[in-house]
């Protein structure tokens, strides 16, 4: 017990790195996913097929292979990367971890958004066209807001999975929560206590993320709820 107590500050430092890596990859992945989803739905096969191949590859292979491919695999092209001035990035485990996580989550998120965009009721799109909206305005005002709301439950799942996936970056010697736990264990030989402590911290972080998403979902669904001060309650017809 004392060991866990003394290790807590370091475990929290690790947890902070876990949160940082997750937040950065989620933000970058989200930025990439919206255009990728739109390209994936494009009618032009030269735009659609490469994006389809990318999504298929990253969803169909284990994350650890993707991470090793970027972190260790880049070493095979060291000369090329050095002459392009990119080696300073690829030699850093942190950069490789962020890159791998971003590419991974962007693929999953793009697929979630594709489903959500296709789930927007066609009547709404037709109505917007009938009002004379241009394509850009149609996407900005009707399709994307609706799709983002439809995607939220699946997206919150993806963020939770990404948070858990970040534990794998400890294998390339990053000191995230798992990494810190492994370092302390290597010195103290007390595996189950520290892994259990780390597991509890992951558990708290996961349900923290889910709680935030629940709040956001509630906040975005205001128009679907009854008004609290309605004197006449809606009649539910079964």
């Amino acid at each position: 017990m004392e060991l866990i107590w003394n290790s807590l500050p370091r475990l929290f430092d690790g947890a902070l790195l876990t949160i940082e890596i997750t937040a950065v990859s989620v933000a970058l992945g989200l930025l990439a996913a919206v255009p990728l989803a739109l390209l994936r739905l494009s009618h032009n096969p030269f735009l659609r097929l490469p994006v389809y191949a990318y999504i298929f590859y990253f969803r169909g292979t284990p994350f650890i292979v993707q991470l090793f491919l970027i972190y260790y695999g880049s070493g095979q092209f060291r000369d090329t990367l050095e002459s392009a001035g990119l080696w300073i990035f690829f030699r850093e485990a942190y950069f490789c971890a962020i890159l791998a996580l971003t590419l991974n989550t962007a693929a999953y998120t793009a697929e979630i958004f594709r489903g959500a965009i296709q789930g927007v009721p066609f009547g709404e799109i037709e109505a917007a066209r009938a009002c004379g909206m241009s394509r850009g305005l149609l996407y900005r005002r009707i399709i994307l807001p609706k799709a983002l709301r439809l995607a939220l439950p699946a997206y919150s799942n993806e963020v939770v999975f990404l948070l858990q996936t970040t534990s794998i970056v400890s294998i390339i010697a990053l000191l995230d929560l798992t990494g810190v736990a492994r370092v302390i264990i290597a010195r103290s030989f007390e595996p189950y206590k520290l892994f259990l402590a780390a597991a509890v911290i992951y558990l708290v972080m996961t349900y923290g993320v889910l709680y935030v998403f629940k709040k956001v979902e509630f906040w975005l669904s205001g128009h679907l709820r009854e008004r609290p001060d309605d004197s006449v309650k809606a009649v539910v017809v079964r």
Binding site: T61, P62, F77, A199
Partner: protein
Amino acid sequence: MFDLKGYGWMLWDGVQLTIAVAICAMVVALLLGLIGAWGKLSTSRATRLAAETYTTVIRGVPELILILLVYYGVPTLIQDVAETMGFDIFIDFNSFIAGVLTIGFVYGAFATEVFRGAYQAVPRGQIEAAYAIGMSRILMARRILLPQMWRFALPGLGNVWMVLIKATALISIIQLPELMRNTDIAARAVRQPFTFFFAASLIYLAITVVSMLAQQRGEAWANRGVRRS
């Protein structure tokens, strides 16, 4: 296409072990899934709580932590307990068994949700009808419930299988010579990490594609008696 410098056999050995681990873990997951779903639908509050805790904890903890916890933690825990009772023993966990149990345990939680959904998708009236004509609970489960649950569960179970097979790559961390571990060894020996990891990723991709095709055929077979518009 790939020059694997004579290390191709290592990848082939690894693939076989990966598939063996995945199949064993899937069997564990299916069993735990059935038990978990039974627990979640049970009328006993304690059973429900146990099943609920199981899926809640698994959802919140990374697989890697659980694999390390089982492989390194459990033997030490048993040794510590034995020591307090006055025994001095040494336990070494087999990484195959540790991997199969952990992955099976994790995906058992996902299978629990799939089976629970499948149970709830079976029309209530049919179950009542089975009891009304005097079927016992077991006969009802065997003749009415399970044949239909199977059909509703198949898409979800296919999903679990495809995530599970990718998760087996994590067992390489506890030195089980499956595809990922063998690729790592070969890549270091030849000093061509990109070539080898890319080859490994394509093998995983091929397993996924074959699984998807098998799932489509399985679903078509399971739905052969269903009328469609």
